[in-house]
Symmetry: C2
DNA sequence: CTTTTTTTGTACTGCTTCGCATAAAATTCT
DNA sequence: AGAATTTTATGCGAAGCAGTACAAAAAAAG
């Protein structure tokens, strides 16, 4: 399909006036700010610079757009915490994880939009089985990340001997859920940092 | 105003066809199930058996109804956990608190509607300063309840000496936030119970 | 240049929504 | 019995909504 000429080979037809990745990013910000029910197609069209028929052609219906935004946000979250998770120092790893998450939660507005999934999906979840399942997957993924990180620390001998990776992993996940809600409510950074510091300290245990 | 006759004295005018308390309860269930943006006045009218002008006359506009529902739900929550909080045994007190909260979160539907505030207010919070403030108040109240309970345990000498009431109180609050989201996502009871048991065990510390 | 294909741009459709207007109904008071 | 008051019942108005129809525009291919 791609030719060797200096111009990129194109299929016939009028060229697109939008960049799909940029459009998804902007759509994500709308959903993150106002949630699924409140977000209108006009609003998304305006944010992306696309007309509504183009939105439907590119992404499907409104719910498909919402799921696309969730995928985008989740990938962004994974990318941001990846480096922290790879840190061998457990305390630094966990603190880095939460710092990276908070950075993402605070990016994008005067009031922190926080987490797209944890702050907007629950409102839809009781009534929409698809969204409820997607929320469940995100919760399970977060559990898995923390429990997995602590099990790695156990295998490397860097987790204190009396600590249970499952128990502490769930508590770290709960901490992230709480951080998301607090950020959305506009709690001051220092207050959220205190919660995070307390949770990490508990995992590490008393200083030897 | 109340006469001594066997009939209750009434002001002039057609009698109300609804019971305000029952109506608030039903309105609360609608908002809890579908959230603020998704709840329509028709739906609330149907659930309460009232016509829309009666709704407006009795409760004000849609947002005032939502806040009324939040007040109602919060009062219900306080009533349900009151007894557990008064228990002098700290472990039993905390376990009882979460059991009572979960009972309320699971009451009312096939899929657990969970917490009205923690599951529906965040979706509106970034865009509506009033709802954001109300969410912040609820988060602060939950913090205060747990920190206060642990400070009481400290004063009574029933909290282990190396425990910090503030730190652990925030973690218990985070646990409640997490419980609400998990219940809303339909997580199995056993999974949520594991999180709660782990948090309570951490607060109590190792068994002597 | 014409044909084909894809995308854009505008308008439309068939609802739904919130809040209000107003007449009728139901009560008490005189 | 009539007047005053409160509530109910029905319908309205203006705006908004998600999804679609279709003509025009913009490109490649022959």
């Amino acid at each position: 399909m791609r030719s060797s000429t200096k111009k990129v080979s194109r299929r016939v037809g009028r060229p697109r006036a939008y960049d799909p990745d940029a459009a998804v990013g902007r759509m994500t910000e709308v959903f993150r700010e106002v949630g699924f029910a409140r977000a209108s197609l006009d609003e998304i069209a305006q944010a992306t610079g696309m007309n509504r028929p183009s939105l439907y052609a590119a992404f499907g219906d409104k719910k498909a757009m919402y799921f696309r935004a969730i995928d985008h946000f989740s990938a962004e979250m994974r990318a941001r915490v990846e480096r922290a998770l790879a840190d061998d120092d457990l305390g630094r790893s966990l603190a880095g994880f939460f710092a990276a998450a908070l950075e993402l939660y605070r990016a994008g507005g005067d009031t922190p939009p926080s987490c797209l999934v944890l702050c907007t999906a629950p409102a839809e979840a009781a009534d929409d089985a698809d969204i409820r399942a997607r929320l469940g997957q995100t919760l399970a993924e977060i559990d898995g990340v923390f429990v997995g990180r602590l099990q790695r620390a156990r295998a490397a001998g860097t987790l204190r001997p009396d600590a249970d990776p499952e128990q502490l992993g769930l508590l770290l996940a709960a901490t992230l859920h709480s951080v998301a809600l607090r950020a959305r409510a506009g709690q001051p950074q220092a207050q959220i940092d205190a919660l995070v510091a307390g949770a990490v300290a508990l995992v590490l245990g008393p200083r030897a």
